[in-house]
């Protein structure tokens, strides 16, 4: 198997890309890698463009026309997408799908930066955002979009600049910064305050130090600590004992008591403990919140699919391009061939085929004519429709779907809910213990009251307990991303390893989507057949065409495609045709003389009505599939293939791959039923290709899909394989096992810590600063333990 010279990924079977490096043609797995290699070996972009017509391995380059993005230049649309950046420049944020690695970012940087009129370019490969400042006098927005899509990426307009999650993250960082600086400052001042005998000579300095501490503590309490207080108030209103209740209680108590004491000039102040507590807790929260935002932003990626403008049909019959926000119920909208339908509506006039794969997973186009309903986000493949909108944009089917999915995503994983519940009981206990301690000290030893009370509240706070699971899950999520798996549902991380029943879809999952030539049957030898077949198949965008990518393109004329039948063209003054047997039979060409195996897909080739030969095509086993199945089998898992394909073919595959069971000829409902039957007793993993398997995927306990096709289907699955190989799943399995171990360690450690520190704190043996350190160290230990998941790990 060939490896890409640049990135080391396996080169897909039909990709014949090379780059000349040090005088040798080295194989390249994808255009991105190739282009980067070319740049590195000091060529310019020309070579890259020559290969542009080839299919990209990851996602096929969609047939793009430069006109596709013209709507972006309409003034209303342009204004809603871009904002003024001074000096006549405009700023725009573009979401670029398919940009996953730094190499992609680098390539885009190179190509876009070289366009005229680009002032500034920022690329963030993590969020897949490209921020551009450009001069609209020199370059139009549609040119930029066309250039990005020409490189094989999919640019999407990004409407809101800066999302809520982003702002949230920023304010969290700021709070941490303030608490951190405050903590360091107060600590410095606190050192002399701890030995008050030194101040007998200069009591005014002690007073000064106290006041400075007070000032900083006030800032920290009201700026950084306020989240805890407001969360605690919210929790109490909802009659729920959250982790924030004792936290808010202890920081408020520490702050106000210290405030009182520092004016009274007696007793010990606890500003240092308070700021330290706030700082470490905020840090922990930050880590935790990063886990939840790790998942894909469903709303953004869904809405990026709808165009930002629509063609409104005016009363006088003229067309007007209006921004999407202005589309409201009852308007008439024209949708043209190839456009994405901008809003839900009922067809008034016209007919056409609509691709609803995104919404329903149905990959076949559906015929729509008068009175049929169409939905925003589906694509019109043929024809032209006039719609009457039936819903405002924010109430469209797509918007409802996005809401449902957001709700599903915001739900905490069950394992975390359990820990939260446990922690809530813990908090209740802590408060009771604190009250008991306070009462006892009040009665018998009033001088030690504050120390013991704060120590109990701080030291026994179940922070480590609440960090135990989320930190491990974050670390595992990052680890999996490094291995090439995007985690959509963190719960799946720990569930993956223990499940014993694995189900696989065949087409597009165990098999590659690309076809390859299994056998050539040539009747009449002819020169440069590979070139001719490549040229002929280039006319078509049928999946079969992917098998014929070896040759060079020749000039051809009178090219014509007969969908479902074949292609015709004239090359070098000879009439060539290539297609199915039925089609050839219609043309009276005898195909019987070739003994082609009916098990395979067979494509026939003829020249001037003479049969030249036939090609038997076969799908290949996906890279890494064999390896993964062997690994799973060795681990004692039961493996089943569920496929809609012919039972014979499926059985062949089962034998080839060595699975326990193989079921063919199943519809999507059959698959669900089969899975549901198994789920009565067992938990199941389903691996599918995500497009037509979306319902089956959501039925499974853990679902894995490949990064291809519909975006919506991805959201239905827990784990998404980013590359072309199934290999990363093997690594994910190991990570899953390790995560489980680490979570167990974390939980037992934090429980042990809390149980042992409580009596010590109640006895008043623990100063509040010691309690704060103890609490922070126990949390730190948990975080560091989770971090081990990130490290190098041999599978």
């Amino acid at each position: 198997m060939t490896r890409c010279f640049h990135c080391g990924e396996t080169v897909p079977a039909n990709v014949r890309l090379t780059a000349r490096i040090d005088g040798r043609d080295e194989p390249m797995c994808c255009i991105g890698c190739q282009a980067v290699a070319q740049f590195l070996t000091n060529h310019d972009h020309e070579v890259f463009y020559r290969y542009r017509q080839d299919q990209l391995p990851g996602e096929q380059v969609m047939a793009t026309s430069d006109d596709q993005w013209r709507f972006l230049d309409a003034p209303e649309v342009f204004d809603s997408l871009t904002r003024d950046a001074g000096d006549g420049y405009r700023q725009v944020t573009i979401k670029v799908e398919g940009m996953y690695c730094s190499a992609c970012g680098w390539l885009l940087q190179k190509v876009i930066q070289d366009l005229d009129g680009i002032k500034d370019l920022q690329i963030n490969t993590v969020t897949q955002n490209l921020q551009l400042v450009f001069d609209p006098q020199i370059i139009t927005l549609s040119d930029v979009f066309a250039r990005i899509s020409a490189l094989g990426y999919q640019p999407r307009q990004h409407q809101q600049l800066g999302s809520a999650a982003d702002d949230d993250r920023k304010s969290q960082l700021k709070r941490i910064a303030v608490a951190g600086f405050g903590m360091m400052f107060i600590m410095t001042l606190a050192v002399p305050l701890y030995s008050p005998e030194q101040f007998t000579v200069a009591p005014h300095i002690q007073r000064f130090f106290l006041m400075i501490s007070l000032l900083i503590a006030t800032v920290v309490y009201f700026y950084s600590g306020q989240v805890f207080v407001s969360n605690a108030i919210r929790d109490l209103r909802n009659r729920h004992l959250g982790m924030d209740v004792p936290v808010a209680l202890s920081i408020s108590l520490a702050y106000f008591v210290s405030l009182y004491l520092s004016f009274k000039q007696q007793g010990h102040v606890y500003f240092d403990s308070m700021t330290m507590f706030v700082f470490f807790l905020l840090l922990g929260r930050f880590v935790e919140s990063q886990v939840r935002h790790k998942g894909m932003n469903v709303r953004d990626s869904l809405f990026a699919l709808i165009p930002v403008s629509a063609h409104q049909l005016q009363a006088d019959g003229s067309e007007k391009t209006i921004p999407l926000e202005q589309v409201s119920k009852g308007q008439q909208i024209i949708v043209k061939n190839g456009e994405v339908i901008p809003c839900d509506g009922r067809v008034l006039r016209g007919e056409g085929q609509v691709d609803e794969a995104l919404l329903t997973g149905e990959s076949r186009a559906i015929n729509k004519s008068t009175d049929h309903l169409v939905f925003a986000g589906s694509t019109l493949i043929g024809g032209q429709l006039v719609l009457e909108t039936t819903a405002n944009n924010e109430h469209s089917f797509l918007a409802r779907l996005a809401e449902l999915m957001e709700r599903a995503q915001s739900q905490k994983p069950r394992s975390l809910q359990l820990v939260d519940q446990l922690a809530s009981y813990f908090v209740g206990t802590v408060l009771l213990l604190a009250a008991a301690t306070a009462t006892w000290y009040l009665l018998y030893q009033p001088s030690g009251l504050m120390t013991a009370l704060l120590a109990v509240l701080i030291a026994t706070c179940p922070c480590a307990l609440s960090l135990a699971t989320p930190t491990a899950l974050t670390a595992a999520g990052i680890r999996m991303l490094k291995d090439g798996i995007l985690v959509n549902n963190t719960e799946a991380i720990t569930q993956l390893a223990p499940i014993d029943h694995w189900f696989f879809d065949k087409t597009g999952t165990l098999s590659n989507e690309q076809l390859s030539i299994a056998r050539q049957l040539v009747l009449n030898p002819h020169d440069n057949l590979p070139d001719i077949t490549t040229t002929l198949q280039h006319i078509s965008n049928h999946p079969i065409a992917s098998a014929f990518a070896e040759g060079q393109l020749l000039p051809c004329s009178a090219a014509e495609e007969f969908p479902g039948l074949g292609v015709k063209a004239t090359i070098e003054q000879r009439h060539w045709m290539m297609g199915s047997r039925d089609w050839f039979d219609q043309h009276g060409i005898d195909t019987e003389q070739l003994q082609a195996d009916p098990q395979h897909t067979v494509v026939y080739l003829a020249c001037d009505g003479q049969l030249i030969g036939a090609y038997e095509l076969t799908v290949q086993v996906r890279d890494g599939a064999q390896d993964l199945l062997e690994h799973l089998k060795a681990a004692g898992k039961s493996l089943t293939i569920l496929s809609g394909d012919q039972p014979d073919t499926v059985n062949n595959w089962a034998q080839k791959l060595g699975t326990d069971q193989a079921l063919g000829g199943l519809s999507a409902t059959d698959k669900i039923n089969h899975l549901a039957a198994k789920q009565q007793k067992h938990r199941c993993v389903m691996v599918g290709d995500g497009v037509n398997d979306a319902p089956v995927l959501s039925q499974a306990d853990v679902s894995v899909s490949l990064k291809q096709g519909a975006h919506l289907a991805h959201s239905a699955s827990d784990l998404i394989i980013l590359g072309q190989s199934l290999g990363p799943l093997k690594a994910a399995l190991a990570t899953s096992q390790k995560t489980q171990r680490i979570i167990k360690q974390n939980l037992s450690w934090s429980l042990l810590y809390n149980l042992s520190i409580t009596p010590v704190a109640m006895m008043g043996l623990l100063a509040p600063w010691m309690a704060a350190i103890g609490m922070s160290l126990s949390s730190l230990l948990v975080v560091l333990n989770s971090r081990r998941l990130l490290g190098q790990q041999e599978v």
């Binding site: 310019d44 730094s102 700021k174 300095i205």
Partner: protein, 62 residues
């Protein structure tokens, strides 16, 4: 002993400057993408202007 007052207040001002600098950096999205800027050093040409073909050939030799 009065020096203590000056120094403590001075350090307070310095801390304020540090916090301000950090806020500025956060607002400028400096902490948004911590991975890809590491590769920007490999990008040898940050000029926003179009390069002529000859120039890129020259660059090729370097």
């Amino acid at each position: 002993m009065n020096m203590v007052f000056v120094l403590v207040l001075l350090s307070l001002v310095l801390a304020g400057v540090a916090v301000w600098a950090l806020f500025w950096a956060i607002n400028k999205n400096q902490f948004d993408d911590l991975d890809s800027p590491a590769y920007s050093i490999l990008d040898d040409d940050n000029e926003p202007h179009k390069r002529s073909p000859e120039k890129s050939e020259d660059k090729g030799q370097s």
